[in-house]
Amino acid sequence: MIHSALLLWTPLALAALGGMLHRIAGVVNIGLEGQMLGGALVGALVSGVTQNWVLGVLAAGAAGAALGLVMSLCITRLHANEIIAGLGFTIVITGLTRYLLRDVFHVSGTLRVAGLDPLPGMLGVDPLFWLAVALVPAITWALRHTAAGLRLRATGDGFDAAGALGLPTRRIRDVAGVIAGVLAGFAGAHLVLGQVGLFNENMVAGRGFIALAAFYFGRSRPWATALACLLFAVFDEAQARLQTAGVPAQLVQTLPYLVVIAVLTATAVRDARGKAGRTG
């Protein structure tokens, strides 16, 4: 049970940490879903062709990076609205994936890649799990103690002010978008290489949105975000048990979303109480 919750946690945490960094730079990334899908497809293909999981993961990261960069450029250089760019990119990538499966690979839905090299076990879990685990303290430290971290925070909290100081704010946002893409790509790679060993066009199945909820939930703090992912993973795991215990499936599936609303409300109320500020 714990093992399978950790398996679920890894892709969520990778994507959520990426989205969180992007959020800290001031952009809400709704495109994680699509970037995960792109990463999953490329990861599966490259792992299959090269029969090497490392190359598969790296290629997935590169695919995510490319998608993240293009999306970020649309936002930072062309002033696209970030929400709509995220939704739009997810639609484009999903459409493109399906189109390619049908028109190029002549399969629909599932792509079984011959010779796909799955992630090996390391201390009982896969390497991407350890990467996600290592990223949490690393990001926490980097945000506080490196110039890159400080500039990232500054760009997110005071875009104009940071720009007036001569920081390349748009480029900083692009870099954050690329990092988010890389991590989302890794997350996609984990779905194909770390879990089921095949690609399906629907396999991301809303996990990008859960990742979004997780970093909102964690209020853009690495540890809290990772814990939120763990909560969702355990939830997902518990779902199966609740269902077999006879609770209606459709209602069980709404629980994580209700929890997000409840937690957001609780924190907002607490903040408002704490400030007891202006009324409006």
Partner: protein
Amino acid sequence: MPVRLGARDVSRAFGSVRANAHVDLTVEAGTVHAVVGENGAGKTTLMRILYGLDQPDSGTVVIDDHPVRLRGPADGIRRGIGLVRQELAMIDSLTLLENLVLGAEPRSGPRISWSAARASAVDLAAGFGISLPWDSPAGSVSVSVRQQVEILRALRRGADVLILDEPTAALAPAQVTELLRLLRGLRDAGRTVIFISHKLDEVLSVADTITVLRQGKVITTVPADSVTRPELVSLVVGAPLEAEGYSPSADVGPPVLEVADVISLRVHAGEIVGIAAVAGNGQDELVERIVGLRPCTGRITLSGKDITGLPVDRRRSAGLGYVSGERRTEGLSLDASLADNTIAGTHRTLGRFGWLAPGRVRAHVQRVLDGYSVRYGRTSAPARTLSGGNQQRLVIGRELDRGPTLLVAAGPTRGVDVLGEAYIHARLKELRDNGSGVLLVSEQLDELLTLSDRVVVLHQGEVAGEVPGGPENRTAVGNLMLGRQP
């Protein structure tokens, strides 16, 4: 003398507005150079161009005698120019130390050396005899502290030309003195300062050279010790201006405002009551409670009517007018049109059955904008396109036009040029003479003392004392503001 920084034939237009027209400016190294001019004269635009935040349509920036092209602020910073803007460029969520080092962090590898950062911060501040709460978030400290950090930041990054765009507009007198002392210190250390202010006394006391802009053009550049204040005023305005005198109220009526809270206060009809306080001593909260933007535990009455629990709109219809001290965020909606800004608050009276009557809206907008000499292009243009002073005129016009029985005015002349200031003062007095009450909150002691019939001084959220108006009470008020005996 070499030209440290300057402009050669610089022009910049926004649509049909010529913000800068063939401007030539020469700032010599090691001087304090003031740039003055009426609202909308093009001062801010010129400074943005000198720093690299904006590009001229034609003409060039000159640095160290060489024409240069600045593509962005990074170029300006690299060439030793620092800008402290009208809107401060501080990031609220970061600590002062983080704000200070941002963009030029002392590093060892990718890591920021926080101990080196702290040491250099403390050193730098000590050089000017100040010490700052380096670990506090910038959002939690006063404007004056933020401004000091901005200046230190520019210096830390090697700026030896420092441009300050209306740095004193939001400062209390003691802080202004402090700042001017700091600027003189900089000059004496060999740095160059460009200083913008509408307070001509400050300009005369700190500047070596003064450039006067009017309608985008340079009118003249003169040594500061060659002009008197009245001469400078007539250069700025284009005509001499009579000095204002103190004229207390002739006829004080019954109370229009009574506040019984932590702060107790009373404003009568036909009276201007001034509130004096160093920023952060409770004046903002007091204003917000009276206006209805902040819940109140005590009791507030307006013309005898209890308004404690009423929302803003009900207070306004009961005769309250409000000129916000936060012009750009609260007094105006910069992205909304001039017309929409002008009818705000009165919009419910400009139609019926829930619909606005276009004719009445147009008439109202015309009356306010023309009546208060707002300089504008089209009423459908966003308020953002007005210069600071014209924005303030719009706000004043909107609120006075309602004929309020009580006007709460916070910093009503902040950023307004001399002519505008005189004009707004006259209007406030006129309002008082017509039997309304005015609660005037201002950091500018001179303004408070010339306008107010009484001055209530706040210190640490409580009433520290009350002093009659008139310029002779300056020291008493100043002492009370700092928590001393009058």
